[in-house]
């Protein structure tokens, strides 16, 4: 078991190293941020001064080593645009993103799981079609469109909800719905397929043969087992909601991490983009590691196979 955990930790660290290298190189492919920071018409000397100020005049390998050295000390660097430490910016936005992601996730689970169960137990019938339609809309409608439609309807016409920003519970409803719908659809689809798989298994047949009521078969025997992959996906999705709700946070002017990432990309603010991606990536790697370890504890075959 110890060997299994050590190996998993090794893989995780390797993943993070590759992630840091990838984002570091890819963001630099977008071009030189000095030309954006200097504005049009800036002289070559102005641009060179900006490059020097932010260490962009150094060779890329040197910049990477410097970046990794700082990263190991917990320093994500300073934003070019805001001239503020990235970690400070990230932490200032984190509570907003956590709040939005929690509500959006609750919404997506409350809507996605029951709809998925209903679609699975009524497969091929009316409620299954309704569920599929719901999933189709959720996955295919772009969130900026959903966001703008919500603003138009609930804020401008009905005047029930504030159009944007943070501050109160009412501010949270529309962005949480816009963000959660996509994930609700994804959770619904996974719940449905997982339930269908479980419902066809031998132990469910046995439960039915024993004469258990259908509700009990579904709720006690099928649902619990079908839920495992859904909850695993939900964990990863929660991290995505926290870190990459770029469009929803921009449309609703929600001051979260997604909007910070948008700003970082817009201004070619390398430290912001690197910082957000690495923190988000670390969260996903950590969750996966945890899940792997828990699985290995629960099911010995996993660690033996590994």
């Amino acid at each position: 078991m110890k060997q299994f955990i050590a190996r998993r930790i090794g893989y995780s660290l390797l993943s993070l190293l590759l992630l840091s290298l990838t984002i570091f190189l890819f963001i630099r492919l977008t071009g030189d941020p000095a030309s954006l920071l200097a504005e049009p018409g800036a002289s070559a000397a102005d641009i060179a001064a900006i490059q020097k100020k932010f260490g962009l005049d150094q060779p890329v390998w040197y910049q990477y080593i410097y970046f990794m050295g700082n990263l190991l000390r917990g320093d994500l660097g300073e934003s070019f645009y805001y001239q503020t430490p990235v970690l400070e910016l990230y932490l200032s936005r984190l509570p907003n993103s956590l709040l939005l992601a929690s509500v959006a996730m609750s919404f997506s689970l409350l809507l996605g799981i029951p709809t998925g169960i209903l679609a699975a137990v009524r497969v091929g019938r009316f409620w299954d079609t309704v569920g599929k339609f719901f999933a189709l809309l959720g996955l295919s409608l772009p969130s900026f469109l959903v966001g703008l439609l919500l603003i138009l309807f609930f804020s401008v016409y009905l005047e029930w909800l504030p159009s944007s920003g943070s501050g109160g519970f009412l501010n949270l409803l529309m962005p949480a719905f816009a963000l959660g719908w996509y994930f609700a659809a994804a959770h619904m689809r996974l719940t449905r397929s997982s339930m269908l798989e479980v419902m066809g298994s031998e132990y469910i047949k046995l439960a039915r043969l024993k004469g258990l009521p259908e509700f009990k078969v579904i709720a006690k025997h099928a649902f619990k087992n079908a839920l495992i992959p859904v909850m695993t996906l939900a964990g990863i999705n929660l991290i995505n909601m926290i870190n990459v709700a770029v469009v929803v946070e921009t449309v609703f002017a929600w001051p979260g991490i997604g909007r910070l990432l948008y700003e970082g990309i817009s201004f070619r603010d390398f430290p912001i983009v690197q910082g957000v991606v690495i923190i988000g990536g670390s969260m996903i790697v950590a969750v996966n590691l945890l899940v792997d370890i828990v699985y290995a504890f629960v099911d010995p075959r996993i660690r033996l196979e590994a």
């Binding site: 977008t30 071009g31 030189d32 941020p33 030309s35 954006l36 200097a38 504005e39 049009p40 018409g41 800036a42 002289s43 000397a45 102005d46 934003s79 645009y81 805001y82 001239q83 503020t84 910016l89 200032s92 703008l148 603003i151 138009l152 804020s155 401008v156 005047e159 504030p162 159009s163 944007s164 920003g165 921009t250 449309v251 609703f252 002017a253 001051p255 909007r259 910070l260 948008y262 700003e263 817009s266 201004f267 070619r268």
Partner: protein, 524 residues
Amino acid sequence: MRASRGSGYVDRALRTRWAGAIVLAAAMAFGGMNTAAAQTKPEGEMRFAMYVTLAPAWFDPGESAVGVLTPFWVMYAMHDALVKPMPGQRSAPSLAESWTVSKDQRVYEFTLRSGLKFHNGDPFTADDVLFSFKRSKAALLHEKVKEVVAVDPIHVRFVMHEPWPDFMTFYGTLVSGAGWIVPKKYMEQVGPEGFKRHPVGLGPYKFVSNTPGVELVLEAFEGHWHKVPTVKRLVFKSIPEATTRLAMLMRDEVDVAYLLDASLAETVKRTPKLKLAFSGGIGTTYIDFLDMWDPKSPWADQRVRQAASLAIDRKAISEAETLGASPPNGNVVPPGFEFALKIPADPYDPARAKQLLAEAGYPNGFDAGDLYPWPPYFSTGEAVTGYLGAIGIKSRVRTMERAAFYAALATKKLKGLCVCVNAVYGNASSRLSETVPSDGVFAYGGFPDVDEMFRAQTVETDVGKRENLLHKLQQTLHDRFRFAPIYDYVWASGIGPRVEEPALMLIAPYPWAAPLEEVRLKRP
């Protein structure tokens, strides 16, 4: 010669002050009124939805780059300058109550207002002026100015190496932030980083808080020398999505929603409680024929360039893009600029354009290659492509990301056409400096005689002669169809029902609310 450009203002100010004193004395005698009661206390909060994200660098005038207007958005609120554009005045005395110019035009001496204090209580002195100037990024000013001397606490002298007629354009307008003052003592205490976290200035509003990327909150500074603001708090919110800005305005969550495109502006027009306001005029949209310097290119022929200009329906583009608010211009210099030559825009005459093309040897038109629109005005580029296509000049719109475009344009890597924007502040000379002389940062070529005219006017100290030179230069550019100017870009903003005065276009051309002490909310 002591030709004080500010003396008229001072005389008027003195007369006004005397008249005010008499009225006040009478009021006190008859009604027991006192000065505190006469001054309206700042009240209420005015919220602006901005389309940009405020950079802390804009809080420090020392970080302001030459030719970049955006920092003045907040500098007009938190800071003040010796001399700056104000309503009806290109260079109005502000922290300097007057200035003189020596006979040989090498020495400028400013008399500062005495008794002024920064937001933190530090006194404003000549040392602050020297300190701020030294920190400025205006390289040309540093090159031209030999020395700056604090004669005494309220007198500052600038000495040039040689006469430089554009000194006040660079120091006293929005070409640079060199004349905008920061407190020396405070800046030395907290350093530039600390200053950006809590800026202190002499402007009508003082800093309260900044949440990076979210909002900036300011509060009225009741010790402002010019005018105590009537609005207590200003909040600048960064809302990148235009539809969201409009929704916020409709919900009264903000009072001013900047930059709405034509379709959103129509919505404002249809909403009875809202008002539509137009501002801008600083950026001129024009076609630059990048290939015209290549003798093999069809654009080398002046008739072809004229044909392109005649093919454009400027009014229709203005209508589609800005509800007709952007006035067509025949010059890349806005008509209100010093030394500007007013040239009417070319008419829309596709028949004549086709005839000119035929005369030039292109009766069936030609393939002009790529057309690069200035980001983010891609729809204007598409409209121009359509009009050129209608007379047989085929072009393909190539959109580029902002930074990539600037870099490619400045390194002369683009080929074909550019639907460019010139938004350089100042006068006709500064306006043309980047695109007209052969060595201009965005110039892909130049005419030797125009280069010589341009050089001559930069050292001409006689205002009349300089104006003649610059007028001749602008006329020459027009006659040779060096550019095909389209219009001076003016855009729509939505104004909410609580606003009495949004202070838009009080300073023209300047796109945002200024001076901010003039913004007013309706009072019950």
